[in-house]
């Protein structure tokens, strides 16, 4: 690296070190919690973990919010998910290849409200993402949408 780009990167690194409160996605992580309000938790391997900003979300996690809760997650493929109050969403399957953008995402909304901004994998293959509800299965083809199960 030349002197000027080293200076630029040193400055970048310093700024990042002061800004970062959490770690970025590592291989195997499906997503990261970005917003939390009120009661919100993550069910993982039979344990209920309180959801915190910066927490990693894994395949097979279930996201749960209470009466005053909401939760927002950015997935590895830049898909954005958020839950309103009294909601329960299981991440049944999640895989994403950052080189080819191939992937698979199945989630199940048992109750409550969910907002979705679809990510990179559905641009690559339109059938990659499905959201299941008690009554239906939704194929998500490159869009923003909301769904509520009463």
């Amino acid at each position: 690296m030349s002197r000027s780009s080293v200076l630029a990167t040193r400055w970048l690194a310093t700024l990042i070190l002061t800004i970062f409160a959490s770690v970025a996605l590592a291989a195997g992580d499906a997503g990261q919690v970005k917003t939390v309000k009120g009661a919100a938790s993550v069910l993982r391997n039979g344990n209920e973990l309180p959801a915190t900003a910066g927490m990693m979300i894994l395949e097979s996690d279930t996201l749960v919010t209470g009466v005053d809760g909401s939760l927002g997650v950015t997935m590895a493929d830049n898909c954005l998910l958020s839950l309103g109050p009294n909601s329960r969403l299981a991440i049944d399957q999640y895989s994403f290849d950052s080189t080819t953008h191939a992937g698979k995402f199945d989630a199940s909304l048992a109750k409550g409200s969910l907002a979705v901004v679809s990510g990179k994998m559905v641009k690559q293959s339109p059938d990659a993402m499905r959201v299941h509800t008690p009554a239906t299965v939704m194929a998500v083809r490159g869009t923003d949408f909301v769904v509520k199960v009463d």
Binding site: S4, A24, V33, L83, A110, A135, V140, R141, T143, V146
Partner: protein
């Protein structure tokens, strides 16, 4: 596991009736409207216009409607308010044959920094891209090595490895479409995706 539980739940609900549900397709931030295909008992409802809505009532009847923005805000305001900020990308270019950022790219880096500061829980993915000179496989390796090189430079300054992810997209995502085998400086870049 969740799918199995939902599956059992769905089977029980076929006997006792599923809870009511509402699905609404929204225009995205850039105005684009995509598609949601809602499948129930083998029948498909295609929603592909702004605010196109499928409501299933307590008796199992489905109603196609067009919601208003105000209705969506009322029903889904809390969930929508919890959506994370949209990821934003900045492209870095290097002076030909060197590791030095071009003057314009140093400005882009400033913009990326400003974006980082605006976010409460930021993370970065560095994504390398190539032009179409060389094979797909070699460009996959080259693009990843470009991203890794930028990360390494950051790590040398004390940044921990796990704080920045890297990816190599090879020649799959050119900014400027070209035929195969075309040297195109605008496509040889490292994208800083701030999330």
């Amino acid at each position: 596991m969740g799918a199995i539980i939902i599956g059992l739940y769905a089977a029980a609900l076929m006997l006792f009736g599923a809870p009511p549900q509402t699905v609404v397709v929204l225009p995205s931030a850039d105005g684009h409207v995509g598609t949601v295909v809602v499948e129930r008992n083998g029948e498909e409802t295609v929603l592909h216009s702004a605010y196109a809505t499928s409501r299933i009532d307590a008796e199992g009847g489905e109603h196609r409607e067009t919601s208003s923005a105000a209705e969506v805000k009322k029903e889904f305001g809390v969930a929508l308010g919890a959506l994370p900020a949209r990821p934003v990308s900045f492209n870095l270019y290097f002076v030909s044959g060197t590791d030095e950022l071009t003057p314009a790219s140093k400005l882009e880096l400033n913009k990326a920094m400003a974006e980082l500061k605006r976010r409460s829980v930021p993370d970065i993915v560095l994504i390398g891209h190539t032009d179409t000179v060389g094979s797909l496989e070699s460009n996959d390796r080259l693009s990843l090595s470009r991203a890794e090189r930028v990360r390494k430079a950051l790590m040398q300054q004390g940044l921990k490895a796990q704080r920045i992810e890297t990816a190599g997209r090879g020649e799959r995502e050119p900014l400027v479409r070209t035929a195969d085998g075309v040297s195109e400086p605008r496509n040889r870049r490292v994208e800083v995706n701030v999330r």
